[in-house]
């Protein structure tokens, strides 16, 4: 198991290298640069700026330079947040995104699995239809609608919760963004769980349990174990997406996370910020996929990693 984990992590290095290389050159192909603005800078100033950021060097040299610094853990200075390095920005923003993302993940898993199981156990009943209707709505309504709706209802109309800001991590500030972030995931998980659970309940070993007269709760526990497998494999990328922040939710609720870094970085031609975000995202996806594979082994006795 340990050897398997180490091997998986080692094999991620060439993957990361390819991702970094492709991203580095792709972002440079975009027209315009970090210093093109509505209020343009003077030619002499542009020269000074390019020199200050080593953008006057040949591109391949810049690439080697970036790789060298990356290996040492230096993600370079940001072009859009001038007082900070990309490393500092990520270290500052990630705790907010991770904390919010984990809250949403837990909510999504608990809510989604519970709803899915309830729906599966009462297949084709009123509770099944209502759960699935809510889940379909949850998947289809985009979060740029859900976010403002929550703000309007709970913030403006009922005056129960603050509409935005982190508020120093105050729980009241987290409730709305966590719900808005969790809802679509919860809906997907509910649908996945329901489908897998219905299938699991029809499996041979469950039928044997039932034939032996075991109690309903034991049967559900056994069925759930098998039914969770598709949910777990979905959770890998979903968790990576949640903890690295959502552009829409973080903007609407003014959360200082890293969600907007990728889009803002790309629009601002903040080359180093885009690269830093790519490295971070790739890292999270690698780690979460690994966790998923390890969980598989724990849940499914047929899967073994030697």
């Amino acid at each position: 198991m340990l050897i398997y984990t180490l091997r998986r992590l080692a094999s991620a290095v060439p993957t990361l290298f390819i991702i970094v290389t492709v991203a580095f050159f792709l972002v440079r192909f975009a027209p315009g640069g970090p210093f093109d603005m509505e209020q343009p800078v003077a030619p002499q100033v542009l020269e000074n700026l390019k020199r200050a950021y080593s953008l006057d060097q040949p591109l391949f040299y810049q690439y080697l330079d970036y790789l060298g610094k990356l290996v040492r853990g230096d993600l370079g200075p940001s072009y859009s947040a001038l007082d900070f390095t990309v490393g500092e920005m990520l270290m500052r923003g990630l705790p907010y995104s991770i904390s919010l993302g984990f809250g949403a993940l837990i909510l999504a898993v608990f809510g989604g699995v519970t709803a899915g199981v309830v729906a599966a156990l009462h297949q084709n009943s009123a509770s099944d239809y209502s759960v699935m209707t809510v889940a379909t709505v949850g998947v289809t309504v985009p979060n740029f609608v859900v976010g403002p709706l929550l703000q309007l209802v709970f913030g403006l109309m009922l005056g129960l919760l603050p509409l935005g800001g982190w508020g120093g991590g105050d729980l009241s500030h987290r409730i709305l963004p966590t719900i808005a972030l969790a809802l679509p995931q919860m809906a997907v998980i509910a649908r996945l769980t329901r489908g897998a659970m219905i299938e699991a309940l029809r499996a041979d070993h469950i039928r044997t349990l039932r034939a032996n007269g075991l109690s309903n709760s034991i049967i559900i526990t056994h069925a759930l174990r098998g039914a969770l497998l598709p949910v777990i494999s979905y959770l890998g990328p979903a968790a990576a997406a949640l903890v690295t922040g959502s552009v829409v939710i973080e903007k609407i609720f003014a959360i200082p996370g890293v969600g907007a870094y990728f889009v803002d970085g790309a629009l601002n031609r903040d080359y180093t910020l885009v690269m830093g975000t790519v490295v971070m995202l790739a890292g999270f996806v690698v780690v979460f996929n690994l966790i998923v594979d390890l969980l598989y082994a724990a849940l499914d006795p047929r899967v073994r990693y030697e």
Binding site: G32, F35, V45, L49, L82, D83, I106, L267, N268
Partner: protein, 536 residues
């Protein structure tokens, strides 16, 4: 499962403790006045030499006092300087600093702090984005090019409280320039001690009404009253919280819920709704900015002034201002926005006519130029950078050109960086959208857009030696009235050629709670928190 439960309860516990702690803080607070200010975005920097946008200026103008500054109505007033004199040849400015001027750490504000700041600004190593704004200072350009050492810059400390600035040539708008956020002083000792990190809370020493207390990027910036400020007794708020309200629609909801006292920017398409709902809390005021369409004057048919005039006359600017921009704009028939002091702009005939008259003229002109129905087809591509207002404007203008001139109009949009890089790299185009926000309140700051040696922002590639000569002459004219007359003549010449088609002057958009006083509309769009007071 068990693990998840633990982390969930842990998460809840942390939240609960935080909630209690915040609650305790709120109840424990006394009559401290906090001004919660929505600032439309995060500053990219708090370094006055890297700054380039208004969001930064709003914060920097609270932290620092330049030699001169704008008051609540946008008038230039003495700030760190108590008085000044200008030599008869208009080239040497001598400033007397306030005797009681102090930094937030108690150090006296010295002339050498200004010298240090100006030198750092023009040092090529600093790579200051707005360095070129200060090229009127003697040797500034050469220093910024690395041809002379920063010590050769024409800024000298005569003694601790006397600063002398020598210019290359008389620059009548120089005092206006000094109000810009890039002309703010620096506390030399702390910049030398902390280097690039002098902007961090705890390190930053400032001489304005407030000092930096907290900076949590994308969350808030907290500045607190500076007890060492010369006018501290008149500063009525103790704390200003700047919130980076980038999502302006969400900011409107936060303002309506009472989470913000003022907010900068709101979605233009909500203007009517907001006016109904919030009445006088919605503030729109013209400021120093213009939206225009540059025509490619080197390319047929746009090289023909008749075509350019026809295109201009066919645009219903009242429609643009009222409908497309929802009333948050004023029709523009010339380059300089209203509100420039001492300036009498030239009469533009079209401005006083009805749209029907203008359209008739447009049809005549385009016919005489040989384009339109029955003649050569008039094909036009409008390039603009992607955003809703630009798209709506381009769609409306395309429709006007189609219906009035029978033109075939296509639209092409790209993101802002690509758009301006394309224009600045002299890419081929027919009509290109551009905008300009004045850096200082002087007609020159708008008319220079048409100078033939303006390599970056003369997108039309307009070349007129007579126009260049007039602007040069205005720079050399010390007498303010005579200079303004020359600039007015220059603008008349520019509009006769009309290489760019002015569309509208944008309005600044603010939401101001009735609790707030001292937030005056002004064309500079400068609102320093030191003039704000907040009713409980």
């Amino acid at each position: 499962m068990n693990k998840s439960w633990q982390s969930l309860t842990g998460y809840l516990r942390v939240g609960l403790v935080a909630a209690l702690a915040t609650g305790a803080l709120i109840t424990g607070a006394s009559a401290e006045v906090t001004y919660r200010r929505g600032n439309a975005g995060d500053p990219k920097t708090l370094d006055q030499h890297q700054t380039s946008i208004d969001v930064e200026a709003n914060i920097l103008r609270d932290l620092y006092d330049g030699l001169l500054a704008y008051d609540s109505r946008g008038k230039v007033t003495p700030a760190a300087a108590a008085s000044w004199s200008i030599s008869p040849d208009g080239k040497v400015y001598t400033f007397k600093l306030r005797e009681n001027g102090k930094w937030s750490n108690g150090d006296p504000v010295k002339a050498s702090d200004f010298v240090f700041s100006f030198r750092r600004m023009l040092d090529p190593q600093t790579a200051a984005r707005y360095a070129a704004l200060h090229y009127p200072i003697k040797n500034a350009r050469a220093v910024n090019r690395g041809e002379l050492p920063p010590a050769e810059l024409g800024v000298k400390a005569i003694d601790d409280k006397t600063l002398e600035i020598t210019l290359e040539q008389p620059t009548p708008y120089f005092l206006e320039l000094l109000t810009h956020q890039t002309a703010l002083p620096l506390h030399q000792a702390s910049v030398e001690k902390y280097g690039k990190d002098f902007v961090r809370p705890g390190n930053l020493v400032s001489n304005g009404a407030f000092k930096l207390s907290e900076f949590v990027p994308s969350d808030h910036i907290k500045v607190v009253k500076n007890p060492n400020y010369f006018d501290a007794k008149d500063v009525k708020v103790d704390t200003v919280m700047f919130y980076p309200t980038e999502d302006s629609a969400a900011a409107v909801r936060r303002f309506m819920a009472g989470e913000l006292d003022t907010n900068y920017q709101f979605p233009i398409d909500q203007l009517n709704f907001l006016k109904q709902k919030l009445g006088s809390q919605v503030r729109t005021a013209p400021y120093l900015s213009i939206e225009y369409y540059a025509t490619n004057v080197q390319k047929p048919p746009f090289n023909d002034p008749r075509v350019r005039h026809a295109l201009s006359l066919a645009i219903d600017r009242d429609f643009l201002a009222e409908k497309t921009w929802g009333g948050a704009a004023v029709p523009a028939y010339r380059m300089t926005p209203p509100g420039l002091q001492n300036y009498t702009p030239p009469e533009i005939a079209a401005a006083g006519e009805t749209q029907l008259d203008r359209e008739d003229k447009a049809k005549e002109l385009i016919k005489a130029a040989g384009y339109g129905p029955g003649q050569k087809p008039l094909k036009i591509e409008i390039r603009y950078n992607t955003n809703d207002s630009n798209k709506n404007t381009a769609t409306a203008v395309a429709d006007m050109w189609k219906s009035v001139l029978g033109a075939e109009v296509t639209l092409l949009n790209s993101d802002i960086k690509s758009h301006y890089a394309y224009l600045q790299n002299k890419g081929d185009f027919d009509i290109a959208r551009a905008g300009w926000v004045g850096d200082y309140a002087d007609p020159q700051n708008f008319l220079f857009l048409g100078l033939s040696d303006n390599a970056v922002s003369n997108y039309s590639r307009y070349k007129n030696p007579d126009y260049d000569a007039l602007l040069k002459k205005s720079d050399e004219t010390g007498d303010q009235a005579a200079r303004m007359k020359i600039l007015s003549d220059a603008e008349a010449m520019f509009m006769k050629d009309e290489p760019v088609i002015p569309l509208i002057y944008r309005s600044s958009l603010h939401l101001v709670s009735p609790k707030v006083s001292g937030y005056e509309d002004n064309v500079q769009n400068v609102h320093r928190s030191r003039y704000i007071s907040i009713a409980p």
